[in-house]
Subunit: 444 residues, 2 copies
């Protein structure tokens, strides 16, 4: 469904005069896109300027709650969603930049900054509108309080062992059998307990690849499969029933991310567990996926919903329903962001990393000042202050559209050789670095 | 929920060299917004230019189907939805402009242009992806074929009598009791069989207004009520149970438009029928509202989903489930557009106008070259070719942001008196006229 990714991001920088000139005076955030849409997200972020520019930097839970509510409830902009798509992703970038700033001012990595907040403050961050049939403030508080006594012990364990990861590297549809097998075996020897394969293009082909992958990794390594929204209900049931003998760990995005009832029917209609979330628009749709028993794994994304506040809400919903959260990552900087959310979940919300894994894709980390560190199949807990969201100024300068040297070179080529530009965003205040696409068929 | 509307539109003009210089050489479409978001929708429309500019004008069902699919399945832009929010609304504006053009080239009003297409061509226009658990191509064809024999008779009846309308004019929350009563009585004497009141701010107040309105119009005029997404499930059930003795015809938008399960719970939990749709993102969510028996009335909107093709899809879904479609209108030009869809539904899809009404709000029609005509509580069938989407060039010139004289005057005022600008769109190819807000509290 995403055959032509040109990994891009609309990039937000919030600056404050507290500690001006130091790293702590800036908060960075972004919306990851896979190309042309970058212009549109940049316009959406620009439309939020009046809510942010010239205002005091939000540093406390109360202030961060107010910012989140103001951005998602601007009555004129809300018309464009409500709470979904471009406008919502833009709100998320700004909210995440504010959290980066607040955590930096506090001198803590975001996961720790969140995990040290009192339960009452965390509850204050949640917008409970439309949730009361599934989660009340009292229930949220009870969940957070139940996790409070074990926080310190789990934070220590997390720092010692890191958080479990899985890798999508062997799984792209375009790879030869030999390459897929080699990458699967490498993943296992690198310490990953789970890999993921793309499926959905051709069932016979998927059966063959699944068999080869299972032979390559043995019975104990989990193999998740990902259909990237390709199917209707009946097709998903047929396909996954056929793949089931190879013991897929989950089927990810079997159908439209809006289709709660279809996910429930697919889950009921075949034996493989169901995962979704990277394209789920907001907390209201996540709530229904849980209410309808439509999923087994909740896949949050850092740059789709309205930032840390809404992801905290989704973590609480998942905890209420007892389901594990396994973040979607990859793209531009998603690994960097989601690791904080999963680690915070472990320390202060669900209190568990059983059945939980963060996706890991090994690319574009070289552009980030605080890149993820994945060793022996686990994400090491970040120690640098902030949300790990900051790209190197050199990367932004090199890939900024349309004036960065990488783009100037491309745009100087004859028209027939030019890709459709991924962005045409003026430089300030939102710059839009666009990194070159990796040689892969499909976005995770 | 929409306390501060500044009625605006991102406006699209498609031009072709067939019949250049005549009215038939242009197709017009727009995304209605309530203010600041106009910039963002304009950017989204601009991002679709590569799919349209320089291509042959789509004039046949096959070509219009291809355009719709290309716009909604552009893999990079799809990332920003998928199929929801800003990007989807932008696709709708372009698709609608193409239909305006095609109907004008055919010399027919859109409702007639559609209603004269063979069932096979209409089915070709539908994107059935994600729908097969509710509606197959064969079922759609059967619905359309069943309506085919009566087309001519119903078209003649429609031209003779017009299509039933209802009015929201008495219903705004800011009106005094006297004004509300006077407008309600005027609506009845003007021939409307249904009016609508806004509710949801204060229950005692709503009970009083509902009682006064019922006394004013008598027991036989339907009074719909509209909560504009204000409630959670329990609140909606409590509120509507209290209002039920005054016999509200429907409760519109009781909660989040994404919340299929909440609508189902509200419908099951109190006696008043449920209506929603003006903010429903796409056909997949409409499908679920029908599958879950969550609504009694399907309220399509012309400028929220991906244009005529997706609305045809929703009409077919509603026909399959036997539910009446009652379009949302008002805003900028929505009455002009939706009348065609409802009339086409009557002639060639559902074949009925029982329990069906088109919303009518009497404002901003003076900017449209082919404005709606509502007489004795009914929309007269349009006779001019096209989709009635065209604004007068003088209106566009006067209200275009930021260079139209109306905006120049406003922007020359001292900063404290300036509204946040509703748009900052360069003039070509997308212009963004913004009409002044009406003195009403809330958008319908």
């Amino acid at each position: 469904m995403n055959p032509d990714p040109d990994y891009s991001a609309a990039y937000v920088v919030l600056r404050t005069d507290a500690g001006e000139g130091t790293a702590a005076s800036e908060g960075h955030g972004f919306v990851f896109t896979i190309g042309r849409g970058n212009d549109v997200t940049a316009a959406a972020i620009r439309s939020l300027r009046p809510h942010v520019v010239g205002r005091p930097a939000p540093l406390t839970a109360t202030e961060l709650a107010a910012l989140h509510r103001e951005l998602t409830h601007d009555s004129q902009l809300r018309w464009l969603g409500p709470e979904k798509g471009v406008m919502h992703m833009a709100a998320g970038a700004v909210v995440n930049a504010a959290w980066d700033l607040a955590a930096r001012q506090a001198g803590k990595p975001l996961w720790q900054f969140l995990a040290e907040m009192p339960p009452e403050e965390l509850v204050e961050l949640v917008d409970f509108r439309y949730l009361s049939d599934a989660l009340t403030p009292e229930e949220a508080l009870a969940i957070l309080r139940a996790a409070e006594p074990g926080r310190a012990e789990r934070a220590a364990l997390l720092r010692e062992r890191g958080y479990p990861a899985y890798t999508t590297s062997p799984g792209w549809l375009g790879y030869s059998d030999e390459k897929m097998i080699k990458l699967a075996q490498e993943a296992v020897s690198d310490g990953f307990g789970q890999i993921k394969l793309k499926v959905g293009s051709d069932l016979d082909e998927d059966l063959r690849r699944m068999r080869l992958a299972r032979e390559a990794v043995g019975p104990d390594v989990r193999i998740a499969v990902d259909a990237n929204q390709r199917w209707d209900v009946a097709e998903a049931v047929r396909w996954m029933s056929a793949l089931a003998p190879y013991d897929p760990h989950w089927i990810e995005e079997p159908t439209s991310p809006d289709d709660v009832l279809a996910h429930a029917a697919i889950r009921a209609g075949q034996p493989v567990k169901v995962a979704t979330g990277e394209h789920v628009a907001n907390r209201v749709v996540f709530k229904q996926l849980l209410q309808a028993e439509a999923v087994d794994f909740v896949q949050i994304d850092a740059a789709r919903v309205a930032g840390v506040n809404e992801n905290l809400t989704i973590l609480l919903l998942a905890a209420k329903y007892g389901l594990p959260v396994c973040p979607h990552a990859g793209g531009v900087g998603l690994c960097e962001l989601v690791q904080h959310l999963a680690m915070f979940d472990y320390v202060a919300v669900s209190g568990s990393w059983e059945d939980r894994v963060i996706e890991y894709v090994d690319h574009l980390h070289e552009h980030f000042a605080d890149p993820v560190v994945v060793e022996s199949g686990r994400y090491r807990a970040p120690t640098a202050p902030g949300f790990s969201a900051r790209m190197y100024p050199e990367s932004i300068a090199a890939y900024r559209y349309p004036d960065g040297p990488e783009w100037r070179t491309r745009l100087a080529q004859p028209v027939s050789a030019q890709p459709v530009p991924a962005s045409s965003v003026p430089a300030q205040p939102v710059s839009a670095p666009s990194a070159p696409a990796q040689p892969q068929e499909d976005h995770q």
